[in-house]
Amino acid sequence: MEEALDQNRLLEILKGFAPSRDSLIPVLQAVQEEFGYVPPESMEQVARHTGVFPSEVSGVITFYAQFYTTPRGRNVIRVCRGTACHVRGAKAALDTVRKFTGIEDGETSEDNRFTLETVACLGACALGPVMVVNKVYYGKLNPGRIEVVLKDLP
C-alpha cells in the first residue's frame, strides 16, 4: 500500500471546484496533476464533492485512458505496436526497452524510474519503429539508439 493520502492537499484541490457533477473530470485531472495519479483513497471524497456515486468516479477513471490509479514512473515510455512499426521491427524495439528497464507492458519499475506502455499507433508511421518518451518522439529505433535515449533519463 502507498503512503496515506494527504487529505489537506486533496481538500485544497476540491475547494477550487464547484460541488457539482460537471466538475468530475476537471477534479480528477487536477487530482492527477497534483499526485501524479488518482489515488483510489481519494475517490470517495471526489464522489462526495461532486455529488456522484463512488462507482461513477471509478467508471470515469477506468473509461478514460488519461487517468491512472497507480503512481507512474518519472519517465513514461510508450512503444508503438502498430502495423507499420510492427513490420519494421517494433517487437525488437520493445524487447530492448523491456530488457533495459526490466519491466513489462503496463508496469512501473520499483525505483519509479520508468513506466512502460504499448500503443496501437503513434501517428508517425513513416518513422517506424517509434516510441515516445515523456512526450518526445524517437523514430527509426534500433537497440543502440534506444539505449542511448534511456540511459540519459533521470
Binding site: K15, G16, F17, A18, P19, S20, D22, S23, P26, P40, M43, A47, R48, V52, F53, P54, S55, E56, V57, S58, G59, T62, F63
Partner: protein, 918 residues
C-alpha cells in the same frame, strides 16, 4: 457557467441548493414546469396504420399501445431507455433508416415498419452478434426459462450463430450468500446499472473499463460485498440473463408457481411474489403492483425468506414429569392447556392470567387475543411486545393527532426536505431508505439526519446533526423556535387546524434578547422553511428511549408547524406493529384504536362478546413480568412472542418467567435463548394461513395460504378458538374471514374494507364516516390536532458513572430486523456475518487495549455480554454501538428493566469495556 477557480466558494454560497436565492429559483422552475405540461400530438404510420401519441413518446411505446410487439433487451419499462442493444430496430420506410425504437421519439409523418424483412434481418444480425460471445450453456443456466436472451433466440430462430466468438471469461469472485455475478453471461444491456443507480439510487455498480472490456463494476472493482451494495437484489430481478442470479438456488430448486403475498420481515409490508414448488416455499421476487415498493425488495425480503421454512416446530410439545419437552398431539396439548388454565383461574382468580402477543400476529389473531382475554379468560392483562418497540411513540402520536393518520411511504419521494429523527431506514426498513435516496438523488431533496451514528444514508445528507437522542428534544424545540422566529412556519394552517394555536405559537416565540440558535438549527430551519414539502421519519429507536413520548410529540409539532400533519411516519418494526394498536391489544385499549373508557365501543363489544366483559385496565407486558417476579402471575399465554428475545435484562426476565406456573406458547420456532413454556404449540408462518396485516402506514393487506405448513403447525387463531371452545366459550368463527368481518362490524375505520379487495392492491384505511364509531374516530381530524408545546427545559440526561464510562448507542442491523427472531433462522442472512460486532472509536479501542476483531466484554449494572469489536472513527468517543436485537441479544443482556410505569431506557445504559483476547 460552472463556478470554479478562486471564486468558487462565493459562487457556491449563492448556488448551493439551500441558499435563499436558489429556493426562489426552484419555486419559479417548478411553476414553469407545471405550466409546460400541455403537449402536442404526433401522428405516424405504423405498419400502414395511423397511430398517434403525445410528442416525446417513443416508437416502442406507441407500438405497444396498439398491440404491436417489438422485441427488446436493454429496455425496461421502469428504467430510462439508453438504446444499448439495438434489438428493437425498426425500419423507417421513407428514409430506409433503421431506428432503435425504444429511444426514438415519434415524429410527424414517420412511416415505421416493425416487421419488414430489413428490420427482421437487422435484429437477427444484432442478436447473432450478442449470442456469438455468450456461453451456450442454457441447459444448466439458473435463469432458465426466465432468460430474455434465450427467448429472443428462440423467437428469431437462432441456434448457433456462425460467428467466431471472442470469449470474455470473467471469474466469479463474490463470496456473499445472496448474489452470484457471472459476467461471462453479461450482454452489457446496462439494466442492472440503471436499476441500481436510478431506481434504487444506491449506485453500487457502473460501467467500468472501456471497449470490449466494459462491464458493470463496483468502485475500485471490489466484489459486491465490499461495495455500497445492500443486496436489494433489484439488479438480479431485472437482469435479462443469468449474469446476475440468486445464489444457492440450486439447493431448493426454482419456483414453479408464484403467489402474491407480503413480506413479514418489517412493518413496510412490501408486496412480493412467493415462489413455490410442490407446496414448499423456495424464494421470493418483487412484482410491480405495490404502492410501497414497486419491484424493490430488500435483502431480507428477497433472500431471507428461507427463514420461514428452516428449523420449524412441527408438533405440540408438553413438559412432562422429567422436566423435558416431549411431543404430543394437538388434542392432548389443548386439553391440558385448557384444564390447567381453568384450574389456575378457579384457584387464583382470572387476574393471575396474562396474555402477551407478538407483533407478527395477524389482525384476526390480535382481535381474538383481546376477546379471549376480556371475554373468555376474563383478565384485563393483555398486551404485546409492541410495548417495548412502539408504545411510547404510539401514545405520543395518538395524543397529538387524536385520531387516525394516513402517512404514506410513497409521499417520501415528493418531499423536498426529509428529516430522519433517529431513523435509520437503511437498516430497519431498506425499501423506505430507497425512497429517501431517490428523493435526494433523483429529485434534489435535502436530507436532514439527526443521529449520533453515521449510517449509509449519511452520504446523502445535506445536514447531519450528530446529536444523541438525549439532546434531541432541545434541538427540535430550538428548530421550531427558529422556524417561528424567522416566520418560516405555516401560520394559516395552525390557526385553522390545531387546538390552542395561539398558545402554541407564543410559547415558541423567543423572548427578546435570547441568544441566537446554532448554525445547525439555522440551516435545518432554512431547509424546512415555509412552503417546502417535508417528510419526517421517526425511527423505532425512539420508542425505546426515556423521552420517546416527548420526541414523538415534538416530531408531530414540527409537522404541524410546517402545515403538513400527515407527513410523519413512525417506522414500526413488526409485521403488524400498527395492527396491535389498532386492534387494542393493550391493557388500556379496545379494538378500533379506542381507549378502554370508550363507552360507545364498550357497548358494541358487549353486544358481540357478551355482557360481562372485563372493563378494567390491566397490566402491561412489563407489569406482567413484575407480577411474575413477585409470584403473582400464575399463567401466561405467549402468542408468537418470545420475551427473552425482546425484554430487557434477559437473566432477570428468565428468572421471573421461571416463577410462572403455566406458560403456554405458540410459535414457529423453538425458543430463541431458552424455552420457558410448559406447553408449546407450533404455529403457521405468514405464508401458510389466511390473515390480514396492517403495515406501518395503516394499510390493511391480506395474505393467503401459499405454502403448506410443516408437520402439524396450525394458525394461532385456530389455537385460540379451540382453547376458547374447551373453556366453554365457542366463538363460532370458522375462517379468518369470519373474524375479519367481525372486526369490520366493530371498528368504524375497517368497515369499508372488503376481504377480496385487501388481497389485491392493499386496502387503505379510509377515514371514519362522519359521526360513526368510537368517540376518538369521530369528527374532522384537522380540528383535533393537539400540539404538545414543549416545556421550558428538558430533563438533563445523566452523566456516565466513572466505572462504566461508555454510553451505549443501540444500532439496528439490516440483516437482523426487529427482534431478530425470524432472521436468525435464515441461512443466508446469518452466514452474511458481521451482525454481532460492536463498534467503537479507534482511540477508545486503544484505551481498552482492543484491536479490530478483539473479543471484548461489556458490563452494565445488570449484566454482561461478550462480542467482537470493530473499529470505526464515526462512532462518537466514549460510545459503543451495539446491535439492537438478535441473533446474539447483546443489548438485551445489558439493559435494566425500566422503572415501574416508565418507558424503556435504552438511552440510559452505560457500560465498561474489557478486552478478553486480542
Amino acid at each position: 457557467m460552472r463556478p470554479s477557480g478562486p471564486f468558487a466558494a462565493t459562487w457556491w454560497f449563492v448556488l448551493r441548493p439551500d441558499s435563499p436565492q436558489m429556493l426562489i429559483v426552484r419555486s419559479v422552475y417548478r411553476a414553469f414546469m407545471e405550466r409546460r405540461s400541455a403537449v402536442d400530438t404526433v401522428t405516424i404510420s405504423l405498419n400502414g396504420k395511423e397511430v398517434a401519441g403525445p410528442s416525446g413518446t417513443t416508437i416502442l411505446e406507441v407500438a405497444s399501445q396498439v398491440g404491436v410487439h417489438i422485441p427488446t433487451l436493454c429496455h425496461h419499462p421502469l428504467l430510462k431507455s439508453v438504446g444499448a442493444c439495438r434489438i428493437c430496430l425498426v425500419e423507417e420506410s421513407r428514409s430506409g433508416r433503421l431506428l432503435a425504437s425504444c429511444v426514438t421519439p415519434i415524429a410527424e409523418g414517420m412511416e415505421i415498419l416493425t416487421h419488414s424483412k430489413k428490420a427482421i434481418d437487422a435484429r437477427r444480425g444484432v442478436l447473432e452478434l450478442i449470442l456469438s460471445d455468450h456461453p451456450s450453456a442454457c441447459v444448466i443456466c439458473s435463469k432458465g426459462n426466465e432468460c430474455v436472451l434465450r427467448a429472443l433466440a428462440k423467437d428469431h430462430g437462432i441456434c448457433d450463430p456462425d460467428l467466431e466468438p471472442i470469449r470474455r471469461w470473467r471469474s466469479m469472485e463474490e463470496v456473499n450468500p445472496f448474489i452470484v455475478r457471472d459476467l461471462t453471461k453479461c450482454v452489457m444491456c446496462g439494466r442492472c446499472i440503471r436499476v441500481c443507480k436510478d431506481y434504487e439510487a444506491t449506485g453500487a455498480i457502473e460501467y467500468t473499463d472501456r471497449g470490449y472490456a466494459t462491464h458493470p463494476g463496483t468502485a475500485h472493482g471490489t466484489p459486491l460485498e465490499g461495495s455500497e451494495c445492500n443486496f436489494c437484489g433489484s439488479c438480479v430481478t431485472i437482469c435479462p440473463t443469468d449474469a446476475l442470479a440468486e445464489r444457492n438456488r440450486i439447493f431448493h430448486g426454482s419456483g414453479k408457481d408464484f403467489a402474491p403475498g407480503i413480506c413479514s420481515f418489517c412493518g413496510t409490508g412490501c408486496r412480493l411474489e412467493y415462489a413455490v414448488r410442490d407446496g414448499a416455499l423456495v424464494g421470493a421476487r418483487g412484482t410491480d403492483d405495490s404502492p410501497m415498493n414497486g419491484i424493490s425488495l430488500c435483502v431480507r425480503g428477497h433472500y431471507g425468506q428461507d427463514a420461514l421454512s428452516n428449523g420449524r416446530l412441527t408438533e405440540p410439545l408438553i413438559r412432562r414429569e422429567d422436566g423435558e419437552l416431549h411431543p404430543a398431539s394437538w388434542g392432548e396439548a389443548l386439553d391440558l392447556a385448557a384444564a390447567r388454565l381453568k384450574h389456575t383461574i378457579e384457584l387464583h382468580g382470572p387476574e393471575t392470567v396474562g396474555i402477551i402477543t407478538g407483533t407478527n400476529c395477524s389482525n384476526e389473531e390480535l382481535y381474538l387475543a383481546v376477546r379471549f382475554a376480556r371475554a373468555v379468560a376474563r383478565t384485563p392483562h393483555v398486551d404485546s411486545i409492541a410495548r417495548l418497540s412502539s408504545a411510547t411513540v404510539m401514545e405520543g402520536l395518538t395524543a397529538s393527532y387524536q385520531g387516525p393518520r394516513r402517512p404514506s411511504v410513497g409521499d417520501i419521494e415528493d418531499a423536498e426536505t426529509i428529516v430522519l429523527v433517529a431513523a435509520r431506514p437503511d437498516y430497519t426498513h431498506p425499501v423506505v431508505a430507497r425512497n429517501v435516496r431517490r428523493a435526494v438523488r433523483n429529485r434534489g431533496a435535502d436530507l436532514i439526519q439527526l443521529d449520533s451514528l453515521t449510517t449509509s444514508l449519511s452520504r446523502f445528507a445535506r445536514l447531519h446533526v450528530k446529536n444523541g437522542v438525549e439532546q434531541l428534544p432541545p434541538f427540535l424545540k430550538a428548530l421550531m423556535k427558529e422556524l417561528v422566529a424567522r416566520n418560516l412556519h405555516d401560520e394559516k394552517f395552525l390557526r385553522a387546524g390545531i387546538k390552542n394555536a395561539d398558545e402554541f405559537i407564543n410559547r415558541l416565540k423567543p423572548p427578546p434578547g435570547e441568544k441566537s440558535s446554532s448554525e445547525e438549527v439555522k440551516q435545518a430551519a432554512r431547509l424546512m422553511g415555509r412552503g417546502r414539502k417535508i417528510f419526517i421519519l421517526i425511527g423505532p429507536m425512539l420508542a425505546r428511549v426515556t423521552q420517546g413520548y416527548i420526541l414523538a410529540r415534538l416530531a408531530a409539532d414540527l409537522a404541524f408547524l410546517c402545515g403538513q400533519p400527515e407527513r410523519v411516519l413512525f417506522l414500526g418494526e413488526g409485521t403488524n406493529e400498527k395492527g396491535v394498536w389498532d386492534l387494542g391489544c393493550a391493557p388500556d385499549r379496545l379494538p378500533g384504536a379506542c381507549r378502554l373508557g370508550d363507552s360507545g365501543m364498550l357497548e358494541i363489544l358487549k353486544g358481540l362478546w357478551g355482557p360481562d366483559i372485563v372493563q378494567r385496565p390491566g397490566l402491561d407486558a412489563m407489569g406482567m413480568l413484575r407480577d411474575a417476579e413477585k409470584g403473582r402471575l400464575k399463567a401466561l399465554v405467549l402468542m408468537g412472542a418470545d420475551p427473552l428475545a425482546v425484554f430487557p435484562d434477559t437473566e432477570r426476565t428468565r428468572k421471573a418467567l421461571a416463577r410462572v406456573d403455566l406458560i403456554i406458547r405458540t410459535g414457529m420456532f423453538p425458543a430463541t435463548i431458552y424455552e420457558t413454556a410448559g406447553i408449546v404449540f407450533p404455529s403457521t408462518a405468514i405464508t401458510e394461513a389466511d390473515g390480514t396485516y396492517m403495515n406501518m402506514e395503516g394499510r390493511v393487506q391480506r395474505m393467503g395460504k401459499v405454502a403448506n405448513p410443516p408437520g402439524d403447525a396450525r394458525p394461532t387463531a385456530r389455537f385460540l378458538l379451540d382453547l376458547a371452545g374447551l373453556l366453554g366459550y365457542p366463538m363460532g368463527f370458522v375462517t379468518a374471514r369470519d373474524i375479519f368481518d367481525e372486526i369490520r362490524r366493530v371498528c368504524p375505520t375497517w368497515e369499508p374494507l372488503r376481504w377480496e379487495d385487501v388481497g389485491k392492491s392493499g386496502g387503505r384505511k379510509p377515514l371514519a364516516p362522519e359521526g360513526a364509531g368510537s368517540s376518538e374516530e369521530r369528527g374532522e381530524p384537522r380540528q383535533r390536532l393537539v400540539p404538545y408545546t414543549p416545556p421550558d427545559s428538558f430533563a438533563t440526561p445523566p452523566a456516565p458513572p466513572l466505572e462504566r464510562p461508555f454510553r451505549v448507542h443501540p444500532e439496528e442491523r439490516m440483516l437482523h430486523p426487529g427482534d431478530g427472531v425470524l432472521s436468525a433462522r435464515s441461512n443466508r442472512l446469518t452466514t452474511a456475518g458481521q451482525s454481532s460486532l460492536i463498534r467503537i472509536h479507534p482511540e477508545d479501542a486503544a484505551l481498552v487495549g482492543a484491536k479490530k476483531g478483539s473479543l471484548v466484554m461489556l458490563r452494565s449494572d445488570v449484566g454482561e455480554a461478550t462480542a467482537r469489536a470493530d473499529l470505526d472513527s464515526n462512532v462518537p468517543r466514549s460510545g459503543v454501538a451495539v446491535p439492537s436485537g438478535g441473533p446474539d441479544y447483546i443489548l438485551q443482556r445489558l439493559l435494566p428493566w425500566p422503572e415501574e410505569y416508565c418507558p424503556p431506557c435504552w438511552d440510559r445504559v452505560f457500560v465498561s469495556l474489557r478486552t478478553l483476547e486480542e
